[in-house]
Subunit: 228 residues, 2 copies
């Protein structure tokens, strides 16, 4: 690589916006920074990309190291590179969005994060770097994607009620939806499969459903479009 | 910045996928490389991001330097960082999509590109680096976005016929559309404004239209969704 020394070389990081849904609202995983800069501030999990490491591998490694989260849905969001966004000098960050089921719990990992926890989006602490901007873009992306892709199933338990599904859409879109209209829209989608099981322990049992990924992918390959 | 030397530092580039529409098919701007690696091969316009330069500024500068194109619609696509994608060592590239009107013509700029030209997507030469993969992702993104955003107006002349608009959608989606159905879908969108002008010199004159960006943006802020 000796002939490449002439090129400008910013440092490169990955940052992960991990969304979860607790039945009522959206939440996000934050870590508390153990090192300067922004020591003790809350931040998105992330860190430097190694020279021999692919970008998504770096995002998964940092998530694992800082939050113990593994095997999550992960998708590249956008790259943030405004000059001055990091006090250490020029640092460009490739941001990812992760979607996580509610039974997954972040835990402090083995690196420079001193804590890891879920925060409701409505009660966020001040964030390090430009992480509030990254989070804003991630929420916008989630809103856009959820309308046209059945992403919600990555955020719900494996068996869910249509009420839970609607609550998720309402939380992401930030608006309330008409129940009858919502269910009518879901009807044509036979990849949302009703089960012979009901919720228990509630005053009125509700039917459980599951998401049939194979059926959805087959439809999807045929040019089908999901829309809520 | 002396305390940052410890971080791994890949080189960082931008690459631009510039789409145009010639009335029949989609085309893309390629430059012929004047330097190694891949000297004399065709490639997407692009180059190294400077240390004090924002990412989009770098993309616009490279476009200007290599193709003379200015003031174009530009949007970040995705970042490509697979280890081994560049023979010079670790080089991560932030890719952009540009949309350009047909009256804009690329021209050889003042840098390391020895030629710049439009190529129909159906007749592409072999491309340098992983630029065929970047181009594939860009086409997918364009297909996805065009259905839900009135992006097409960035690619058409300022005054266009509904036949031209339909031809553009057909070229991007790679499918033929029913004319009556297409026009019925456009009807509710009053940001597509019919003019009192018609095409001339054709056996049958067709009405010209224009896109009203202000009207669209006002609707858009109200949560309106465009769909074809």
């Amino acid at each position: 690589m000796s002939h490449t020394y002439e090129y400008p070389r910013p440092a490169l990081t990955v940052d992960c916006v991990v969304f979860g849904f607790d039945g009522a609202g959206l939440k996000v995983v934050l870590i508390r920074r153990g090192l300067e800069p922004f020591k003790d501030a809350w931040a998105l999990p992330g860190g430097f990309v190694q020279m021999e490491e692919n970008l998504e591998d770096a995002a998964r490694r940092e998530l694992r190291e800082e939050t113990s989260l593994k095997n999550v849905f992960l998708e590249q969001l956008q790259t943030f590179g405004t000059v001055g966004r990091d006090p250490r000098g020029r640092v460009v960050s490739v941001a990812y969005v992760a979607l996580v089921r509610p039974d997954k719990h972040p835990a402090k990992g083995d690196t420079d994060a001193s804590e890891a926890a879920w925060f409701p989006l409505s009660e966020l602490p001040p964030l390090a770097f430009d992480h509030d901007e990254i989070l804003r873009v991630a929420r916008e992306r989630l809103r856009g994607k959820l309308r046209w892709q059945p992403l919600g199933f990555e955020l719900l338990p494996e068996k869910f009620t249509l009420g839970q599904l609607q609550a998720l859409y309402e939380a992401v879109l930030g608006t309330s939806l008409d129940k009858r209209n919502f269910r009518k829209k879901l009807l044509p989608y036979d990849f949302i499969v009703p089960l012979e099981q009901f919720t228990s322990g509630q005053h009125r049992p509700a039917r459980l459903h599951r998401f049939d990924r194979h059926r959805y992918e087959a439809l999807s390959r045929g040019g089908f479009h999901f829309e809520i």
